[in-house]
Symmetry: C12
Subunit: 77 residues, 12 copies
């Protein structure tokens, strides 16, 4: 495996705007299952790369999301 | 397989604007079938890469979609 | 096969502006045949890469098409 | 063969402005012959890559053509 | 041979402004001979790559030519 | 392992705006666990790369965060 | 030999502004000799790459020349 | 090991604005420990790369920090 | 030898502004000798790459010279 | 070792603004020790690359420092 | 040896503004000696690459020098 | 050794503004010693690359120095 490259993988920044924001990593590969669930409380920030194991990220709850193509807000405003 | 590269694969961001938005990954390869279906409720966000298994993404329902070439809205406005 | 590269293949975004928009993948290779046909109803969006199996995409019906070189509308306006 | 690269080959977008627009792929290689002929009716769009088998594309009839270096119209205006 | 690279070779777009425009591919290699001659009638468009077999293109007759470095007109205006 | 590449991995800069800001590295790989926790007091700065071992970073407490896509503040303002 | 690369070699576009414009390819390698001479009549266009066999191009007569670094006119104006 | 690449690794510039600014290199790898501590007096400048051994840098005390993404000040202002 | 690369070598364009402009290719390698001398008459243009055999070009007489870093005039104006 | 790459390593330019400016190269690798100390008198300039042996540079005394990310002054102004 | 790369090596353009401008190539390698001396008379232009044998160029006399980072004049003005 | 790459190594241009400007190449490697000293008289220009043997350049005396990151003057003005 090429260690240098995945340390430079793309990343997403998520800031929770309320308690209990849920960030779910969905598995890469044949089956798309929950890989990992991270809970954020209000004000907490998660900066997360795509990895060998997670190719999709699902966000529930009010949060600011910063991506390569600009920023957006999740949650039902 | 080269782990570093696919962690940097292109990704699409989808924000549901109503309950029940459906995001369907269509299989890469000889046959184009449903690979995975993800349901989003209003306000939820999915950030998903193209993968070894999915080369097309179909979106049903009202959603904002952020791509490399700008953003658009799905759903019958 | 190099998994990382084709996950970064170019993609086209198509939004149906009427029911029954047809998106046909034409086969890469010696023979150019229909590879896959996808039907979109009004408001549905398909984001699709060129793949090992499809090197051309044909669109029938009213749709907005977003490409690397700008956007256009298909259908008889 | 390197699957990732040719999925990223350059592509041309053609929108027919009348019925019966003809798009002819000419063969790459020692002999330049017709490889494939695709007919488009008014409003139909074809997005096609250069491939291992076709290195030239000939367009007959009224159409809008979108290329890497801008757009032009075919047909006798 | 590396299939992916030559599908991304540079291309030239030629639009005939009169009947009988002649596009001649000249052979790459030790001898520079006619490789292929393509005739275009008024309004027809040819989009052609440089190939393993042709390293020069000669255009006779009134045509618009779109290249990487801008556009020009052939023919005796 | 390719030593040169990971020394150039992406990095995040975090400046604590209060005592006790917590920066948690989450493990890359099958399991997403705490890899390392670093405490910052007010005014301290941490500049940290993604590594072979950490693919996500969680920040608790008031801090300024500088990323490739702009800056944001964590903590409950 | 790497087919993909030389199909992407740099090219020069020459438009003859009078009859009998001469374009001479000079040989690459130890000896610099005439490799090929192409005659253009008024209005004809030649688009030619540098090749394995020609590393210099000499132009005699009135012509417009389009290069990577702008355009110029040959001939005694 | 690839000598050329790590000489081009990213670097951070730190200028101490008071005596006793502490710059701590944290170890890359499974364990995140102190790798090296460098003390700067007022006006001294340290320009330091990320290395095979250090993937994070912690700064205590008043300093100006120049990074790829702009500059900031550490210390409790 | 890698055929594709040297066909893309840098080139210089020289337009003679008087008869008898001399362009001298100086040999690459241990000894720097005259490799080839090309004479241009007024209005003639030479477009020449650096090659395996020539790493320097000397120009005598009035000429316009177009290089990667702008244009200049040789000759005693 | 790859000779070409480290000749292109990043470099820092330092101009002494007083006598006795000290530039200390700190060793790359497990131990961070003084590798080399260079003294500059007022007006002298040192242009130095990061090397296989030095991954950090410490500057004492009044100097102007030119880096990839702008310039700064060392010394207690 | 990689023929393609050094044909694309960086080059310097020198135009003599007086007779007897001297351009001296200094040897690359352990010893830095005169490799080659080229004399230019007023108006003559030399375009020269860095080579396997010369890593420094010394210019004596009034000349205009065009480099990657702008132009300057040598000689005692 | 990779001949093509070091011919493209970074270079520095130095113009002496007084007689006796000294340019000292400092050795790359474990020991940092004087590798070569070049004297410039007023108006002389030296264009020098970093090499396999020299990773630092020291300039004494009044000179203009042109680098990748702008220009500066050495000497005690």
């Amino acid at each position: 495996m090429d260690g240098g490259d995945y340390t430079n993988a793309k990343y997403i920044t998520i800031k929770a705007l309320e308690n209990g924001v849920t960030i779910i990593g969905l598995t890469r590969g044949k089956d798309t299952k929950f890989h990992h669930t991270e809970k954020l409380d209000k004000g907490e920030v998660l900066i997360t790369q795509f990895t060998e194991h997670a190719s999709a990220i699902k966000i529930r709850g009010k949060a600011e999301i910063f991506t390569e193509y600009g920023e957006l807000k999740s949650g039902d405003f």
